[in-house]
């Protein structure tokens, strides 16, 4: 365990050095894992801003369902993490609640919550990465934007998944507050889209599997999946995300992501 920790921290130091253009020796597998993620990130650059509607279907072991209806607005920020505004519509008791986040690759994210009953804007701690989002099987960190610096990498090989030739890459979270020791990610070799992620908990046993279905390409460049299904292997619960009304380059700007826009978000 200790050697593993040492290895992980050594790896994160190494990858940071690489990212900051200091040449240093990574093993061939580590270099290839990093290269794949850099390429995936690069291919999705330039979306500027996007809006989409998300329907969350929470299912427990007995098959009981509960719905969350959410609207998302995001703004691409060059050389930093993205900005996002999350607006809740269902369940009805949280309708009007909105969440503003300025994410950063290394520094702590800045997050504010608007509580409509009191009309109160509350700055909240962004340390809660591993906790469940709205009682679902998605953790906060599963829904945050992908930044290359958030992980260190190891290429595991090629594998066929759903008829597509895919890279299999292991990712180790750099953040000590992550709920995971590692993730194994399947990325297709053609378009560099993520198709499946296995999550391993802090005890390094398989916790969840996330599958991406129905990829569509928007403005001839950006691939987004219509459906993301998260299955928790340990508690038998699952959560399905259904995305609709994806739109890109809608004209959103910094002024759509401040305290005022948080208060009137719908």
């Amino acid at each position: 365990m200790l050697t593993k920790k040492l290895l992980i921290s050594a790896l994160s130091v190494l990858s940071l050095l690489i990212v900051s253009n200091v040449s240093f020796a990574l093993s061939a597998e580590e270099q290839k894992g990093l290269d794949i993620s850099l390429e995936a990130k690069k291919r999705d650059l330039g979306w500027q801003d996007s809006t989409a509607d998300m329907l969350m279907l929470l299912r427990n072991k007995q098959g009981q369902e509960s719905i969350r209806e959410i609207k998302m607005k995001s703004l691409e920020v060059i050389d930093d993490g993205d900005k996002s505004l999350t607006i809740f519509n269902k369940p009805r008791d949280v309708k009007g609640t909105a969440f503003l986040s300025f994410s950063h690759p290394i520094d702590a994210d800045e997050q504010w919550l608007f509580l409509p009953a009191l009309k109160r804007v509350k700055r909240i701690s962004s340390r809660n990465k591993s906790g469940p989002f709205m009682g679902s099987e998605f953790a906060f960190e599963d829904l945050s934007s992908f930044e290359v610096e958030k992980y260190t990498y190891k290429y595991l090989g090629e594998e066929e998944l759903n008829g597509l030739k895919s890279f299999k890459v292991e990712q180790y979270p750099a953040d000590e507050n992550s709920g995971y020791t590692r993730r194994i990610v399947w990325i297709d070799t053609e378009e560099y889209r993520v198709h499946k992620i296995d999550f391993y908990d802090r005890k390094d046993s398989l916790l969840k599997t996330l599958s991406f279905k129905g990829y569509k390409q928007y403005i001839a460049k950006h691939w987004r999946a219509d459906i993301q299904e998260m299955i928790n292997h340990q508690n038998g619960k699952s959560t399905e995300l259904k995305w609709t009304n994806y739109a890109f380059k809608t004209g959103l700007s910094d002024s759509d992501f401040n305290r005022n826009s948080l208060k009137r978000a719908r």
Binding site: T51, D53, L58, N60, S66, I67, K71, N89, K90, P91, R92, D93, V94, K95, A108, E110, L118, K119, R120, V121, K122, R123, I124, S125, S126, R127, N128, S130, G131, P132, M134, G135, N177, G179, N245, A247, T250, G251, L252, S253, S255, D256, N258, R259, N260, S261, R264, R266
Partner: protein
């Protein structure tokens, strides 16, 4: 229900602010009236399919209906008060219209409560009836609104715009709608809000039959004002708020009618009620929060100057969060806050604060389950004399649209000068069931 995103958002960024302002002020009355007319006709025709009728105006109706049952453990201290059980029913719908891609909107939130015993608690209010116009770097809000300021949890010291709807609940967090014209300017160095507040709202107090009051009822008809304009005084407020890295800061100046009345026994002997006197005040306030990892450090302070007194008060403390305690999904937040008031300990009936040197401890447990179950415990203690309050609030969702909450409040004081002493028979439990639509 979705924003139409085919057209790019209105972007008057190249328009100078003064030009844009004159445009809005000049045509505001006309456009808001016609907007009202459009909305009204939509309501009359078919509210729920409004977006189908006119593609540029979208309409939404939501809200909640709640049934609340209180049970007081002890007999009433004063003869007219209700004995043990108090039932009430409330309704708060919300109607929302937006057009111009959401840059213009109208919000209407009426509220009404019927109470089984306390006729003062049977009351209605327009919580909100406001038109909002949003532009890139400024926003204009006109009408009846609610505006919250502050960062602390156990006392909202700097929150001053809205009057407290005192009959609603024990915590004073319910507010009456306030008429206002509010211009909000977004700058790189923070958001500046200018408020013009025409018309003052008197605080609501428990009636004769109501519990949670002292021996004398506050007379709603015997109200006087320092200003000759009385309730029509035009109040003014200017606030700056900004986030700098881990710090969220706010500062303001308020000039106008004091939201807290000076209460005194009615002149005829024996006094049968308390009369209200609303002074003018100038108040400076600051609030700050540092968000450092799992720690939230909070500070609020006010300096208030009236013709009767000048004083300082602060509320300061922290909140610490444990994420995923005991290897579960549970989050535990621990809170501690201290209240201080320069007026110190005061005799009952004299002016001063209940929270002159009080310590508050709290624990918040979020279960992070499908039902959003939560448990909150709070303990308040007066450090100058023997008085404490204790509360538990538990809530959970049932199905998709019901929220059940169960609250227990215990109040104890051995100091006859303390307000808590006069309501020390009012320990109670409260169960409420709300349906959200």
């Amino acid at each position: 229900m979705h924003l139409s995103l085919k057209n790019p958002l209105n972007k008057p960024s190249n328009m100078s602010l003064t030009k844009a302002l004159s445009k809005v002020f000049g045509s505001r009355a006309k456009s808001s009236v016609s907007a009202m007319a459009v909305c009204a006709s939509l309501v009359l025709s078919n509210p729920l399919s409004a977006s189908e009728v006119a593609t540029d105006v979208e309409f939404e109706a939501s809200g909640n209906i709640a049934l609340e049952q209180r049970y007081f453990f002890k007999e009433a201290l004063y003869s007219e008060q209700l004995s043990h059980s108090q039932t009430s029913f409330s309704v708060e719908p919300e109607f929302y219209w937006q057009w111009n891609n959401g840059n213009d909107s109208l919000l209407f939130t009426p509220f009404y409560r019927v109470d089984s015993h306390d006729e003062q608690r049977t009351h209605g209010d327009i919580r909100e009836l406001a038109y909002i116009h949003a532009s890139d770097d400024w926003e204009l809000r006109v009408g009846i609104r609610k505006e919250f300021w502050g960062v602390t949890e156990f006392q909202h010291l700097v929150d001053v715009i809205n009057q407290t709807d005192g009959v609603e609940d024990f915590d004073g967090e319910d507010k009456l709608g306030q008429q206002m014209v509010n211009l909000s300017l977004v700058n790189d160095w923070g958001i500046v809000d200018v408020f013009l507040l025409p018309g003052f709202r008197e605080r609501t107090y428990a009636g004769e039959e109501g519990r949670l009051r002292g021996p004398l009822v506050v007379d709603e008809d015997n109200v006087s004002y320092e200003s000759s304009a009385g309730q029509q005084h035009l109040d003014f407020a200017l606030r700056w708020a900004h986030s700098v890295g881990d710090f969220d800061l706010g500062a303001y100046w308020f000039h106008g009618t004091n939201r807290e009345a000076y209460l005194s026994p009615s002149p005829q002997a024996p006094s049968s009620s308390l009369v209200q006197y609303y002074s003018q005040m100038d108040q400076l306030g600051i609030d700050a929060q540092a968000t450092l990892g799992d720690w939230l450090w909070k500070f609020e302070s006010i300096y208030r100057s009236t013709s009767l007194e000048d004083f300082w008060a602060t509320q300061a403390g922290f909140e610490y969060s444990f994420i995923g305690v005991f290897d579960t999904n549970l989050d535990l937040g621990l809170l501690m806050e201290h209240s201080w008031d320069s007026r110190g300990e005061v005799a009952l009936g004299a002016q001063g604060s209940l929270m002159q040197n009080d310590l508050f401890l709290g624990a918040r447990l979020a279960f992070n389950d499908m039902q959003s179950s939560e448990l909150l415990m709070g303990f308040g203690s007066d450090l100058d004399h023997n008085a404490f309050s204790f509360l538990i609030e538990a809530s959970r969702r049932f199905g998709d649209n019901f929220i059940a909450s169960f609250d227990v409040r215990l109040l104890q004081s051995n100091e006859p000068n303390d307000l808590l002493y006069t309501i020390s028979n009012d320990d109670h439990a409260q169960l409420s069931l709300a349906w959200y639509f």
